[in-house]
């Protein structure tokens, strides 16, 4: 298994750079991962990442649709916050595995 160093701590990641152990993640690490993706984190980023992490922890599927039902932001804002591939980028920065859903 690969390792990367974020915020001075070694963490386990897969070959695509996704955390394999979400409990190793901290907000300080998120800043550095976001930088790799060209994103500067704001309070909105953290709020939706918290939603994604909570959903992951409770075993609910992560879909683009669930963002609209998050009560945090709508999908349009989500695309603006994480330009390009929002769900992939957001989960990577939030330290959780890449979503396995097609929607």
């Amino acid at each position: 298994m690969a390792q990367k160093t974020y915020a001075g701590v070694n963490v386990d990641v897969n070959e695509e750079g996704y955390f394999t152990n979400p409990s190793q993640w901290t907000k300080d690490m998120a800043v550095e991962i976001a930088k790799e993706e060209g994103i500067v984190l704001t309070a909105q980023h953290y709020a939706i990442m918290e939603f994604l992490r909570n959903r992951y922890t409770s075993g609910d599927p992560l879909s683009i649709r669930s963002i609209n039902h998050s009560g945090v932001i709508d999908v349009k804002t989500f695309y603006q916050l994480f330009p390009g591939a929002p769900l992939k980028k957001a989960t990577k920065i939030a330290g959780i595995p890449k979503p396995a859903s097609c929607v």
Partner: protein, 165 residues
């Protein structure tokens, strides 16, 4: 060094109006948008039902003449059963329920998601004329009514693909 040729743009054509035809297009279009791929979704002929406001969330699947149609439990559904009143509605409702469990949204909501991510929805000029449709019959997410020539203009570019579902 290995050369890579990523898909940068997809233009999908949806020409049929059964649930599975429309959802094949919608899932592929939404999936492309989610990957950051520039996406056009072009509806024509019976696929137009997916962008007609009064019809989009009432699509059906065919239970007659569909050799892959199965009953709950996996047994093949005899075609003759399909002609019974209500069978098509029942089959369609069951299919939508199963999709909902997978977080696959109704058509109207799917169009919201695709366009929220920058995907573009178009209607076919020929189909609009043929079915005598008006702009106000169609979803507000439809960005335009295109001739086939205009569709090809929109579809061009490096790493671009056209997909007929």
């Amino acid at each position: 060094m290995e050369q890579k040729f990523p898909i940068k743009k997809v233009s999908l054509i949806c020409a049929k109006g059964a649930i599975e035809d429309v959802y094949a297009s919608l899932i592929m279009a939404n999936g492309a948008v989610m990957e950051g791929i520039e996406t056009n979704l072009f509806f024509t002929f019976f696929g137009m039902d997916a962008i007609i406001k009064t019809r989009m969330d009432k699509l059906h699947t065919s239970v007659v003449g569909n050799p892959a149609m199965r009953l709950p439990g996996g047994m093949r559904m005899p075609s003759l059963l399909g002609i019974l009143p209500g069978m098509e509605s029942l089959g369609s409702i069951m299919m939508k329920n199963e999709m909902n469990k997978l977080d696959i949204p109704p058509v109207s909501e799917f169009l919201d998601l695709i366009t929220a991510g920058g995907g573009k929805i178009y209607a076919c000029k020929t189909a609009v004329d043929m079915f005598k449709l008006k702009r106000e019959d169609m979803s507000e997410h439809v960005s335009g009514i295109l001739t086939i020539g205009e569709f090809y203009e929109h579809a061009g570019g490096e790493g671009a693909q056209i997909i007929f579902t």
